[in-house]
Amino acid sequence: MSFIVQMNNISHKFGKTIILQDINLSIKKGEIFGLLGPSGSGKTTIVKMMTGILSPGEGEVFLNNELMPSLKQMKRYGFMAQSDALYQELTARENLDFFGSLYKLSKSKRKHRIQEVMDMVDLTKHLDQPVETYSGGMKRRLSLAAALIHEPEIIILDEPTVGIDPVLRQSIWQELYQLKENGVTIIVTTHVMDEAEKCDRLAMLRDGKVIAVDSPEHLKEGIGASTIEEVFLHYGGAAQ
């Protein structure tokens, strides 16, 4: 069985502090894979390593069996960072057009895709508005749109739904399911329990270690919990 993302024996330090310890993760093609863990447990660090913008101190990251960082693999994922990375002076359209061009999408393709992704995040009305006039949640959604612009086969989302209301969150998840139907692999970090529940598999993180990886159902069964929240509390340390 080949995995689309593989992290082997990853350890990492920032200065002298050990941030990640011996992480091994394998993510299957077409699944929704969640990273759940308390703040500061290393979720962002892990997803940055998957994208290749952070090189692990020890260990290796593979995308499609190719060692990261690799420019070829960078075309294949879409990344939405935890903090919005957008050009404030430019309009949504200009931002998306810029990111689209980086992936060598043709002009007509970009035009078409901009409509599609803006539709997806329900921002079509604000297409020609400068980003600096966007609300926090709108910026979040635009970041998501920018991650999807080039129809990537892997989507890496770092807390995508922070600051987004439940109705919209619901519709974004609808879209993610739709993408999954089309064979897209989705990797998502989250704090939100009902979101964790929606993942096919979950990795529970604590203090830079992966404590458990399994489907939400199995995780619950394993410790006799009825909700993911209990699982989180159990593994997150509060129950010990």
């Binding site: 994208t51 913008i53 960078m74 075309k75 960072a81 200009e94 980086l102 992936y103």
Partner: protein, 338 residues
């Protein structure tokens, strides 16, 4: 290809960011003008005595704004001593000798400019011998100032705007976002240099043309050469600014580089004479881009030098640009190994 995409984006951002536009265009002009108003005492009448000057040349001088009086050598020497004339022009063995009072550098420079302008057609002042009644240091100081100021303002403003923009790219997370796409590190750097470079060409033209034609800075050389050097100087400032922004955490720290990086360059670039300094002190000036930019500009503007004469400074500036650009590409390794 990605370089071009990045350049287009930067130009678009410029169009939106009116403040930076204004900073890069209006600010140098405003400051240069102020500086010139302070340094250039235009309203003063300049008294020049003529000693044995042949009639034809005297006629051409009538059109200048100098206050001319013919007198004997003895009288002229007496008057220049008590300061009632600013200079005298003497004809000896078919050649003009200009003796400047010299205690006020502005006056000295202005007289030289005036004579140069008035005598332009057949131009005997080209070989005019200039000397000073009271030493010559001050004259050099004045001559240095115009070209150095042009170089300095180009350097200063490009450094700030380029450095801060690149820094902002990092702090707002878009640099990371860029590097999480299939763009090469070199494309990021070239895109930045290209985008700002285009704008910088305009800015260099503006500052140089304004100084030379509006403020009437002393200039005998070729405008194309002046533009070439100011542009190279701007590229140096841009690549140095983006490089140093890697070592700043925020805009405030970027601004702190000004006293560290910009101000010392002013001391060593010729605004102040450094010939008398210790060798090791002079050596400091040798590693500063502005030194070479100012040297080349002085050569072109004051002595009408051609490429053959200022090429060394030019190559050194190009060397700085290449060096800083490579270091920029290398510095991005911190963000992505590839």
């Amino acid at each position: 290809m990605n370089t071009w995409t990045l350049m287009k984006r930067i130009l678009k951002q410029f169009r939106r960011d009116k403040r930076s536009m204004a900073l890069m265009v209006a600010a140098p002009i405003f400051v240069l003008t102020l500086m010139w108003l302070v340094l250039d005492g235009d309203s003063k009448t300049l008294n020049v005595a003529l000693v044995d000057v042949p009639d034809p040349f005297q006629e051409t001088l009538e059109e200048s704004e100098l206050q001319l009086t013919s007198m004997s050598l003895a009288k002229a020497e007496e008057e220049i001593d008590d300061g009632s004339i600013d200079a005298f022009l003497q004809w000896k063995e078919q050649k003009p000798y200009l003796i400047l009072e010299g205690s006020d550098p502005n006056t000295a420079g202005a007289i030289r400019n005036e004579l140069q302008a008035a005598a332009a057609p057949n131009d005997p002042t080209k070989e005019m011998n200039v000397s000073f009644w009271h030493g010559s240091e001050d004259m050099e100081l004045f001559d240095y100032i115009g070209p150095v100021l042009i170089g300095f303002f180009v350097f200063f403003f490009v450094f700030i705007v380029g450095g801060v923009s690149f820094l902002r790219e990092r702090t707002q997370g878009t640099l990371e976002r860029l590097l999480a796409s299939p763009i090469k590190r070199s494309e990021v750097v070239f895109g930045y240099l290209g985008g700002f470079g285009l704008f910088t060409i305009l800015q260099s033209i503006l500052i140089a043309v304004f100084s030379i034609y509006v403020l009437d800075v002393y200039m005998t050389g070729s405008l194309m050469y002046v533009l070439l050097i100011t542009f190279l100087l701007a590229l140096t400032a841009l690549s140095l600014g983006t490089l140093l922004s890697a070592f700043a955490k925020n805009e405030f720290q970027m601004i702190q580089f000004i006293p560290l990086v910009i101000v010392p360059q002013v001391f060593f670039s010729g605004l102040f004479p450094i010939e008398g300094l210790a060798v090791w002190l002079q050596a400091i000036g040798r590693v500063m881009p502005l030194t070479y930019g100012a040297e080349a500009l002085r050569g072109i503007m004051l002595r009408d030098e051609g490429i053959a004469e200022f090429q060394l400074s030019m190559y050194i500036l190009i060397g700085f640009v290449v060096l800083f650009t490579l270091l920029n590409i290398f510095a991005l390794k911190r963000h992505r190994r590839l």
